[in-house]
Symmetry: C2
Subunit: 368 residues, 2 copies
Amino acid sequence: MTLMPNTRRSGKTPHRRPTIKDVARQAGLSLSTVSLVINQSGYVSEETRSRVLRVVKELGYHPSRVARGLASKTSGNIGFILSDDHFSSAEPFYTRIFLGTEFEARNHNFYILLTTVGNQFREDSSIPRFLLEGNVDGVIIAGKISARLVEYIEGIGLPIVLVDYELPGKRLSSVLIDNRKGAHLAVEHLARLGHRRIGFIGGDMQHPSIAERYKAYLETLDDLGLPRDERLAVTDEPDTRRENGASAFRVLRARGGRPTAIFAANDAMAIGCLQVARQQGMRIPDDLAIVGFDDVESATHVDPPLTTIRVFKEEMGTLAMQRLVHAVKTKTQTIVNTYVPVELIVRASTVKQQPASPEVAGTAEGLD
Amino acid sequence: MTLMPNTRRSGKTPHRRPTIKDVARQAGLSLSTVSLVINQSGYVSEETRSRVLRVVKELGYHPSRVARGLASKTSGNIGFILSDDHFSSAEPFYTRIFLGTEFEARNHNFYILLTTVGNQFREDSSIPRFLLEGNVDGVIIAGKISARLVEYIEGIGLPIVLVDYELPGKRLSSVLIDNRKGAHLAVEHLARLGHRRIGFIGGDMQHPSIAERYKAYLETLDDLGLPRDERLAVTDEPDTRRENGASAFRVLRARGGRPTAIFAANDAMAIGCLQVARQQGMRIPDDLAIVGFDDVESATHVDPPLTTIRVFKEEMGTLAMQRLVHAVKTKTQTIVNTYVPVELIVRASTVKQQPASPEVAGTAEGLD
DNA sequence: CCGTACCATTGAAACGCTTCGATACTTCTC
DNA sequence: GAGAAGTATCGAAGCGTTTCAATGGTACGG
């Protein structure tokens, strides 16, 4: 392939892309034969195959995605749906998942069309354009989503993979966090450090992930023989942002709960909580130990760094895309629920660290 | 529009999308008339217009993007090209720019196809697939890019907008950072604080932005009557990541430079520098004041928070997309260089702050 | 040596839309 | 009152592929 597309041209004339017709003519074959070679389907003799390939190279031919799409009823695109509130607030959690899907999409020669939808299904207006226009071959949905939208997509007959969400009663593939294990690790870690009054702060309990974390928190308390204390759990925050973590902790204190440790539904809330606690003069972890969940970027930047449950976000995206691409290519949707493992990451918000030489920490992989 | 696409169906049968033909038949008009209504072009009587629109609504018709693409030679997509090294390392600087373009693309009913390319033009293999397949109507390029790739795209006749990059000698629209002003603000700020030995650390001087920042640093020293001291500037780091900031500062010290303040080419390097300085027992800002550039997220999380030059990253993306969409729609490429303003953000890495009540800081807008 | 099966190639329809030229009817304009 | 200009609609070609039925050739088994 030369520098200029097709053959060299003098700047002005925008070059015409060669079509399959040009290849056929040049190779002295029919359109269909050329198509067969390109799609590696059907019978083609070795000789004509190589002849076609040679001409293809000579002409710098590449099939038009759009034409191919029309003829084959495929778009080569995957839709990625994210709910509004996840999109422009809070920690870059779903960003990471998205990144994972991006990488994997590239491996399979798909492009991703990204969109957001409101939380409540606003009928017509909230249906992603790429669905209306038939511009995707499958859909990945990250986070909480309206069941009606999911039904709509099923109605179209597109394969779906959910990430960090389940729809009870629906038979769908999901890639999920092992929330039970994570919560268990967190609480157990605190218990092992000697804590007996371990609080929980959470919000948005509609979200299965959050609900699970809370439930597993309670169960782990039971398992460890620690008492459940209602005053130590604040679960009615509407959201899981930092502010809500802060206010949840204030509520907890106001209410007379005296926890020595807090397990937060996610890092954002943990950080909010941590900041309020310090503001109130508490020393972390001496007066209050804190564990988060997710291991987002800022967990390492906060002071003291946050002990948390690591979630492999990119991997979740990768897995989801793999499942989806498989479904798209084979046109068979097998329902699989995949749980990605979690890890306890111990930092200074629960265990006093020796003043280890502060390394020059890099940043994790990101879109840049 | 009902919940199910088209008309209600019993789960199994994947519904057939209505086509323009169905609309035409149902409305008792020709295809072309329906098309005219939908595209709001040509003459259509008010009566038939509304008749068509009614039928469209009844049937839940939406034109197929792919078919429309083939007929009109447009794809409805914008390509976003990012260089490899920007993609998966360092601070989320270009991520922000990308987010800006995403939002704006949505406003204009475009989707973005994202890809990365290697630094050196590896001939054929490094040409983004969406270009080969004719699957985009225009291209945004963020950061440093091979001139040959740009020429290739020009050859295809696609409009281009560069972001945070210029190609000397090429007539292209760019959205640029006001690096000169930023560097000036930074150095001036330090000088005003009484610093006279102000160092510079940088890397990847090929990048026009970095080069400009360095140049403006030198010029501002002159303007302020401060001496240029070779030992105070390290510019030969290959890259601008944290590690390089750290090593640049070590080099500077090893070389006997004794700056009281450092202006770093970007926040990543500033942070690396800051961490090494603290490690060496220096107090920030007393023994060493540091100013970065870009105002990335972690600038606020680092201890002490980093004084820096804020760059409006989302806005750069938005602007670039606006320019590009305009070029695509009007099919006229007018060359405009846009400089987005910068701001000095003073934090504790240069000026000791009163121990202000640590607010519960939210995170800035992000893909989640 | 004929029927079958496999291999290789082809022509034509189809995918769902845009667009251009043609037609025909109105309404101006002088 | 005739030609020009504007308005409304339509038929058909075309966009660049895929796909399927059809055709013909070759080899093979009985």
